[in-house]
């Protein structure tokens, strides 16, 4: 394996600072609409389906890979970009943390693994269940 990819620090704003505060506590927050009840990710102040106000709730942090692509070239390769569909419904654009990228597949079960960044709060990657 080449050098692990350096993960740049996210730059939260006043709207989403609490997401990263929760991440530092090991909690993955998703948005839930107070009006229509639908969950969504990334969380935001207004619902992307009905424009209602939202409450941010903790996800169980488990789901399955919707799609993925493993970057084979350039700095930090290999690393895997993926959408993970959480059991609550929303898909999360993320990375799959693993040493065995070739064994990953669509439909595979994964769970959240918070990963340190370069001088910032941790970010929610996912790892195959059991790893």
């Amino acid at each position: 394996m080449s050098d692990p990819r350096k993960i740049p620090a996210p730059q939260p704003n006043v709207e989403n600072q609490r997401f990263f505060d929760a991440a530092a506590q090991g909690k993955l927050l998703i948005g839930q609409c107070d009006a229509c009840g639908q969950p969504h990710y990334y969380p935001r102040a207004t619902c992307p389906f009905c424009f209602g106000a939202t409450t941010w709730v903790e996800s169980g942090g488990k789901g399955e890979i919707y799609s993925l692509s493993t970057m084979r070239r350039g700095a930090g390769a290999p690393y895997t970009l993926a959408y993970v569909t959480l059991d609550e419904g929303p898909a999360v654009l993320t990375n799959i943390a693993t040493d065995d990228h070739d064994s990953l597949a669509i439909g595979q079960r994964v769970s959240v693994r918070f990963t340190p960044t370069e001088g910032g709060p941790p970010v929610p990657m996912f790892a195959p269940e059991g790893e």
């Binding site: 989403n16 692509s69 070239r73 959408y83 419904g89 898909a91 990375n95």
Partner: protein, 384 residues
Amino acid sequence: MTIRNKAYIAGAFEHPTRLAPDKSTPQLHAECAAGALADAGLSLKDVDGYFCAGDAPGFGGMSMIDYMGLKVRHTDSTETGGSSYILHVSHAAQAIAAGHCSVALITLAGRPRSEPFGRFPGGAPEAPFEGWVGSTTHNSYGMCAARHMHEYGTTSEQLAWIKVAASTHAQYNEHAMLRDVVTVDDVLNSPMISDPLHRLDCCVVSDGGGALLVVAPEVAKSLKRPLVAVRGAGEAVKGPRGGMNLDLTTSAAAVSGPAAFAEAGCTPADMKYASIYDSFTITVLIQLEDLGFCKKGEGGRFVAEGNLISGTGKLPFNTDGGGLCNNHPTNRGGITKVIEAVRQLRGEAHPAVQVPNCDLAVATGIGGSLGVRHGAATLVLERQ
């Protein structure tokens, strides 16, 4: 109000450079503008509308309008990535139909080979959540391809046929970056960039640019060029929108395409030629399905066995070699799609790839990142 027959593309110019370390980006924009004006037989003082997107240096259109010495009464800098310039033709036609301008200039230029640039415009609401994931165009489009393969059984061999067709056309284009005809095996044996996309599934990186002139009917009819009418247009933007019911195998072209055909009063089967934005092979396949050239999931079979090759295939596409082989100036391929469609409709494509009696063509594009957020624009053009 419809734009049908309210505007014509009177000038089209593709800059011949593919590497321009000795020229500034504003200079390339101006050279493209001059080329399109010469093509149409118009002068800079005729221009009363200006359109550009995020590749134009400065703040919206203001810097380039001042740099080139334009006097305009209408400007628009709508940004949908590489599809912007297809959309600008539609917006220019709307402005002309409303009487807000009569000669609209659209320019694109940039130097990503000479001067690489980054991603993520400041302040985007998704940036804190996605800025760290290492998303590039390669792996974003790679996820779309992986999902398409998973759902529909599409294969790398089928995707490779798209590159084979583009390379078959590019051999005749003296300006094309890649002129060697390649085989399916060449594509499959090229290095994996981001699964399942190989190097030869990816477009070129080129410096350069292009320009278009969209004009009012009375202006078009006063010129000595063939009449290429804007017959219909559509546009759309799509993103993961909260991540619910994510669908990476359908693009915003599923909205922009049918809208363009409806306004034009015709169907995909009526098209003699198609310019289809080919940032990657998968981009072409998904747009073919979304525009209705075949059903969703059948794109792999549609493109296989040379069916996109001019003269032998059922749908000649990207006869200049497209982004896959010819040119992808400043990482934005929309304008070259319109330019080659105009060449085909005028009968000015290379004789080896010219479609006989080409009177109806479609130009369609995806800008931004297909796997994350993207814009789509579609134009139906007619030779009159």
